[in-house]
Symmetry: D3
Subunit: 334 residues, 6 copies
């Protein structure tokens, strides 16, 4: 059984037209709404999509045999750095509502909440939407952007007390959080996609050098895309770990990582580095990787096939990786 912890909503165009309108009138038309209905949502899930290799979201799930997908907002659309804050609040709520609609029409989906991470608001204020999604809409987790400035300024590091209200709410609601940055604006040199990698790298180091897990021992944090550069660059941290009397791998195992890496050698490196019990199957499917490799004919985001190719994994390993750990972390029904 495949539980994919890293999926994003494929929403109707009207959701993004709504966003474009918000960014244009900046609130002058009031909150309004995208006005989505189930029919639009179904159509969007079933429409062949050029960005996804000409195939629909549901066709991708069918082909890969994904049984359950945890669905969060499209990160690059989240616009956390836009102003005034109410735009961020409105669009986040509308997006979470779209996810909720999708969960109603597609039984494979479980909701993962986006947060209205405007830096004009206090992080404590972000958690109201998290509570709404978990307690009212039945969502099973949250997604958190370590850089709500989206590349335009330096946010507090993830180890800073600034983020504590979020950790508190996550622990209280007992849901895991997926770390995943959103957009990246000029004059940054990187695209949003490369920004993901950079931010995940910072996130891992920022958390491990802090007291967050001492203060929140129950906190469950999943780093997207295999943890940025860290498993590959882990040796860089060995010396200081030695000086502190621990190994860096031990420290890394305070975190969880998804497998959304697109190559078998990288996934192997990840699993060997942090242990199979700290990895969760994540495909981000359909998405950036939904292109067929002309050599193999596979979709680039056929992460399940890449994992399937790793011959040294046991059946028990695979069960944990594809299902077990996700099921227990997100408290999904068996």
């Amino acid at each position: 059984m495949y539980i994919d912890v890293h999926g994003h909503i494929s929403a109707p165009a009207e959701l993004y037209a709504y966003k474009a309108g918000l960014l244009s009138h900046r609130g002058a038309h009031g909150r309004g709404g995208a006005g989505l209905d189930k029919e639009q949502v179904v159509t969007a899930l079933d429409a062949p999509n050029k960005s996804f290799g000409g195939v629909s979201h549901r066709a991708h799930l069918d082909e890969a045999g994904i049984d359950v997908q945890l669905v969060s907002p499209r990160p690059f659309q989240m616009m956390h750095s836009e102003s005034p804050a109410k735009l961020v609040e409105w669009f986040t709520a509308e997006t979470n509502d779209a996810i909720h609609l999708a969960c109603q029409v597609e039984p494979r989906f479980r909701g993962v909440a986006g947060l209205p991470q405007s830096m004009e608001l206090d992080p404590a204020a972000w958690t109201a939407e998290l509570r709404r999604c978990v307690t009212e809409l039945g969502f099973v987790g949250a997604m958190l952007n370590p850089d709500p400035y989206e590349g335009t300024a330096q946010p507090p590091g993830l180890g800073d007390r600034f983020w504590y209200p979020v950790w508190e709410a996550l622990c209280e609601l007992d849901v895991p959080v997926l770390l995943h940055s959103a957009g990246c604006r000029p004059p940054a040199r990187e695209s949003y996609s490369l920004h993901f990698v950079q931010e995940e790298t910072l996130a891992v180091v920022g958390l491990l050098q802090s007291k967050v897990f001492a203060d929140f021992p129950e906190l469950k944090v999943i780093v997207s895309h295999g943890g940025g550069a860290i498993p590959y660059q882990k040796g860089r941290f060995y010396a200081s770990a030695v000086r502190q009397g621990a190994t860096f791998e031990e420290k890394l195992r305070q975190l969880y990582f998804d497998t959304c890496l697109y190559t078998a050698d990288a996934i192997e490196l990840l699993i060997r580095t942090v242990g199979v019990d700290r990895c969760l199957f994540g495909s981000e499917k359909p998405g950036t990787g939904s292109v067929r490799d002309p050599g193999t004919g596979r979709w680039i985001d056929d992460i399940h096939l890449l994992i399937g190719d790793i011959d040294w994994l046991t059946d028990a390993d695979r069960a944990r990786l594809f299902e077990g750990t996700a099921r227990s972390l997100f408290r999904l029904d068996a």
Copy 2:
């Protein structure tokens, strides 16, 4: 016959979803495109629209009996202040293309070009798109935003030499320009809609205190929404005009104004102030004013009815106002 010089495109949601995508990936996905086709455009023109009183764009034209409408981009969607500049260029071109498609499916439409007014570009660079629209797509005019910063900084006043490349291109192509601001971003105190009024007020004074019309005697400038505050506040400028040996009304008659004012008394004040030959019928229909007045049952943007109510206008006046001046300014076929 009614020629409405002030209409904006009612485009499919996909155009704005395209815009939302650009703002999210900031160019990382490349230019791509909204991928509009005529069918989508027709659907958008015929779809009942809640923002427009539950009635479609074409139904509005039918009901008002508008024979020709000059169609420009929705100003508040133009995002001139976004970065990098290529986003502005791409979206402007895509919007002008959408207008071109609409002109093909709806014979009442004539195109008015938006310009990619990013302040990261030189105004001379903006005019390439103007040339494309006029020479390749058959557009008959242009729309110009006096505040490409959209409220975030002080642009050069319209009398400044900064704008001369635009005046030069307009004169060379012999097309009129409609002055109309776009968005307005925090921390400005006004909405985009009130910003229209403020910018038109500045535009009139900025042009009249400059040498623009001495340097470009052939330039044809139409100020939207009846010229902001100026006809009402004209007396404030009398004293300095007296000192210069002219009347302020004479100076005002270097400009044209549209009638998009929504009340008969304001339209009357405008016509009396600048003369009927300096006014053009403009309804911005459907748009902000597409709400039925519960008292009269009329649409608030039934500008043609308001003008119809002005009993002191002669038939010749009406003919000029509704058709003649527009026809000659924009060189429309009879």
Copy 3:
């Protein structure tokens, strides 16, 4: 009887030389003072003034037959954006003292207080001077600048809680306030005079979209110069008013407006829009409009003659407009 609610002090040159000194030494010479005496004040009121058409302040009053004039500081001299704040405090007090002196030598005058609106101070701190003027000097009202930054930054909108200490003091002292901006500094595109219009436009919309009148039902606010662009552009606000179940004219009638508009058609539009009972005679005489119109021979600021020309006003209307409303609002003795 004519009560002119919008007059500004014609002070001796020494008051402004004092200001020039403050701006030069920035407080190094201490507060000092302009050292005005009644003789200087009388001389200044009776001196023919080139800026005022070669005629003195009192000769203007005589010629127009103004019986009572409410006299406030020359707004464009108020320098609210200068630093440090004590300069603003000192000059405001000195100016109010000059007005007090003028009230002593000229029985037609009543004082309207300027406030030391430095943004380095809290608005609550501004009200000390208001109290002094009302309780010690017998002033009957206040003047308030909605943009103490004088065009160099974005102040909080008038609906913001920032301004509540001022509304509280006005209600407690039971005096009306005249909204009137002060200077306007580069790089703004407009002169201080056009800034008046822009700020009044923002002021009206900012107040009407807020809860100020719900929170301060006794507050009496007079917008200068006929309310900027609003009566002319009122139709732009009809649609949203309809959606809220009110007419925009009803909302406008929460405010008062002065008639300082210089043309009969604009004054007519104002009266028809807000009702004669919401208009007060204001001439700003002598001032910007103190130039003779070569066509009519009238002074451009002969507002009383413009009103006199409006044939549809009844005698009762005129009595309210010229005297009654002012007398009751400002609680002037009969």
Copy 4:
């Protein structure tokens, strides 16, 4: 015979009221003018002045027996940091014109020109006013402010090529320049008066560490107020001078200094440091020092008496100091 090289104009209040107006309307009223006439100028020179100990400018000259006074603008009024630049240009010209008027009514005066030192202009542009004053108005020197930002930003040091157009014009016109800063604005910690001292200190070091005198061997520079801190702190520069094979006193003698120091011991230190031939009598009278010392009964700015008290000066020394050097530097008729 006493030639005082450091006097400032005592202008009518109308000059400063004109300045206050410029700062308020920022050019919206046009250049206009202070409209001074000789009668006003005479009155201002003869009016007892509280800031000057209750005595008039001419009475001060009479009492001190000053035979010739070089008169420049009041430095602290020069407002070089105000914007837009035309305000600085207009007020500087108006001030120089006031000095010219004063020279016509008072035979003891010779004009020293202020320059319109706006940093929005190029220094080459400042020199037009210098040329006008020297060639048309007969002025004999110039005053230069080393900090046209008036404490709000860091200007180029006096050794920077930025200043070369000024040195070129001075050499071409063959007139000396008096270094004297103007105002000092927040958030600087010092008053304009202490800023004089700080700027003179920087000016001396800036010039002596540069190639200015190598490039302009004919340049004649007088540092006001005895050179700031330098004669007192000269020892601080000995070590580096030794390393360069010169004495610091030799380097200092490239400059001239005025004696405007108010205490005999400081004047003695100055003369001993730079040599009597590098000192010029300057009193800045009337001015900051025009207060009677209760102990001695003398005016604090009775610099001539302080010099008179120095018993080791020869008659020839005194002749040079009081007259000879000034006469030759400024090419005054015998």
Copy 5:
């Protein structure tokens, strides 16, 4: 034979005391110099160093059996973001001179030049020092920092024309360049060491998305530390490469990479990703990794042992990796 392309100078304390002095006097003491002599340099190379596990630089080389080491400045000491630029120029030259001295006393060393990368200078100005080092001091390569702002601002990406003068000089002198960032200052969230990883990630993508190798086909670029995150995250770039008709591995092979990664699995991933012929042995020894692993007893930076453990490498592979490619790229004598 081991040629280590990634070594940094272990300089005497006096070099850094010189730097501390420069940062304190900011040039007021002139250039001066560290005044190093060969004896100090020898002492520094042979001194047991606590930061290096209590062992000297030369003892590390001896123990590892490194035959040739390419020695560049300690990157984190380079202070490219300090001001004024002359400090950077002086310290860079002094550091390169220290390297030159070290090459004279230690036959295993070859010099790799640091550049004075102050953003106050033009990159063309940086290349003078490169020329000096190559043509006068016999250096064999250069080190380049992609972020001369050291985390305080966004520099142009490596694909930008800004960097072309450096590429031109490298090609003209025919020497390779090692990409290696320097310091990282607050408010950045990362230490300089993590900044290395982030900058290398950006560098690889910035170069591969540009026309640099089309414009400079002879350019030889080595990315430090195994290329940041890229070999691990390579799959993220597969889809766009497919769309462009190439594989991402082909694109990566335009660059060279050093093996300074500290773990065998990462080095294996690197070699498999880019090919053994695109990898060079680099140990950064002694340095961050000079700590003994308590488990293995090895030094963490015993990169040669890690490579030795990779059993699938052929002898020919090892010869290329440890010697051949370095020898030909840097044109070292056999």
Copy 6:
């Protein structure tokens, strides 16, 4: 007997190499330490030093016959404006520890504490280090920098309440404070050395115009280098002092001054201005002035010889100046 109140530590190069390291890694290596031992300190004190005329610190003391020297950090090395604050804290403590070591090896030394004056910290936080030095290390005084921004921004003036926590701690511990600025960074026009003079000038005026001595009557403040420009420019303050009914000399005598002025005439002016009982012998030896005057053969910083040359001082004067006042202020054992 000579007690020199103004000496700075001559520390081993390793202290400054430690500083250079901190500025490079910005804390990533942790606090670490300079690791100084007594042997290094002794060596540094006895090493001939090119910057000090080729003579060692102790040889200078021997030659001048200085019996006791109060030793504080080298001010220009203190780097108060560097970030993050912990760098300043660590380096300050390490420097004070070096001073403490020096006091242990050299019986003539007494410690004067530097404070970690980062503007990212509250002044109250600075005083912890002061307490440590006085109560644990036996230091006898403190040094305070009036400009912790080191020329990059405007700090609060010394009269501002910002500084009160420092005054409180000084009074509580009953130790004097030496005012002495530290570095001066671009774009300031002055070097750190000239900045000393400028800051001392501001310090004197800032304190004397404040209520500090009224609020802290026990506070003992010594201004370095003879008080900047003030004794020379004192006359500039006479007039305002007269207006306040005091003499400026009386006000000056609230402060103490050291004699570190390098010329006899300046020292004489100082003593005559403030009185011998307000002067303390200070030589800053060895330092900037440790160059032999080729004319006299003396060291420029032979302040004791300059004082010795002043023939009008009595033996009692000399005793106070060289020993008595220092002994009582700093409570040194007889």
